[in-house]
Amino acid sequence: MEIEVKENSENEMVFVLNNVDLAFANAIRRIGMMEVPKIAIEYINVIKNDSRMFNEVLAHRLGLVPITSDSEAIESLIPHEECDCEDYCSKCSVSFTLNKTWDDLPKDESKDKDIQRIVYSKDLHSTDSKIKPVFDTIPLVKLKEDQEIELEAIAMIGKGKYHAKWMPTTVCSYKQYPIITFDGEKELSNDVIDACPNNVLKLTKNKKPSAQHLKKNIENCTLCKSCVRASENDAIDVSYEDNKIIFKIETDGSMNPKEVLLRACDVLYDKADKISEQTEEEIKSS
């Protein structure tokens, strides 16, 4: 199996896997979404909420706020399942406080009248300096004059399979590597070129398909076959490679995509390890 990283930024990574089994790639994809642990707010204790937003809605909004979960940040925490406390304790949770009145908040500059002021995610104060909301600008709730909000939020480690707020990825998907072939004897019409929604195709000056342009853009092809349908003389054919895929991971900012991939591999490794261990034991005891 070969991996070739095409793009790697703070929250998006694209790589090509060659000679890979699709079932294996799918295992990585599913684990990346569902079983890579991250932190999200799980409980809130509301002391005061004068705003017009119900506590339940506020709890839901707070739960969805992405919180930094890279391995450095969460190494000191253990998952709640492995902890021997009942609800939560300092070993398995981090607490945030939110305490704001209308007077504390700055005026909303985009409005003419100063009636409502917005509480943002930057107003959540964490007990752990490494664990904090990824974005400062997420609007949480609005307050009117003389209103106050005071609450404590408890964040815990969880997995995407229990609730979508614990999913580290927003996109975690793959597609098979496209193969686009032209019938050299037939003429490629402009309709075919224009049919492609992703600008994969282009004609050179002497009306031949541009190989250079194709090479550069072939990974944008979604295998939609619009070009094949638009071609009346079968001058173009689109298929895909069986064991070569383009994988894309985009995260919500709580960790970088490389870490999602590495941790997904770790989880898969642990699972396989558990099976081999249990098999050994089973055979020994029977």
Partner: protein, 56 residues
């Protein structure tokens, strides 16, 4: 209030909403703003375009 995340894909779009509103008020076109903010999918874009502020 704008939902925290895109309802289809889960991207935390609300973090960009303040900036978006500001730039729209300054007369910029939505498409240019989205391309600049790297909001690529139409599920996320519709969260901004179709948002109606009912809580004022």
């Amino acid at each position: 209030m704008i939902p925290i995340r895109c309802m289809s894909c889960g991207k935390p779009i609300s973090a960009y909403f303040k900036e978006y509103q500001q730039r729209i008020a300054d007369g910029e076109a939505s498409k240019a703003i989205f391309e600049d903010m790297k909001i690529k999918r139409y599920c996320c874009r519709r969260m901004f375009i179709s948002h109606v502020e009912t809580w004022e």
